[in-house]
Symmetry: C2
Subunit: 93 residues, 2 copies
């Protein structure tokens, strides 16, 4: 039961959400699509770090990307993730 692949699968998605920078990225992508360099300006870390965070989110199926010339644009695939923000925000520590 514990080894049901559904828990493996869901924990992979939760892991993708388990980083402040990635949550911030999803919040940004909720408004509009961004290219990597614009996200990098908002975030402030090395662009390779941003790229890796985006790869994690994409691998989890949360975002998608398309290329325009030499830029890669990312957009949100699963807006329901943001609804969960509200639920989680109400949990008090």
């Amino acid at each position: 039961m514990k080894d049901d692949p559904k828990y493996q699968y869901m924990s992979q998605i939760m892991k993708a959400l388990a980083h402040p920078t990635r949550l911030f990225i999803l919040d940004l992508l909720a408004e509009k699509e961004y290219c990597v360099c614009e996200l990098q300006k908002q975030i402030g870390t090395d662009i390779s770090t941003v790229s890796k965070h985006l790869a994690v989110l994409k691998n989890a199926g949360l975002i998608s990307s398309h290329k325009v010339n030499n830029q890669v644009w990312y957009n949100l695939l699963c807006p329901c993730v943001l609804d969960f923000y509200n639920c989680v925000s109400e949990i008090k520590n």
Copy 2:
């Protein structure tokens, strides 16, 4: 913006959800409350491992516990977490 404490806080909760065993525990607690030894039977790992997973979930505010004699019973505090399961389940890899 990235350093907004809300992202720190939410990522902490997401981290608590980012493990197959802990997701399984929440699924069990959705039905009824369990004591540690009953959870251990369902999960099959060392009981100290179960106890630590429970501590992670409790620290995140997702579950609560109360003691009856020498047993500790745990129950779910945030059923909305399970609604998120449905959202996440629909994300395709």
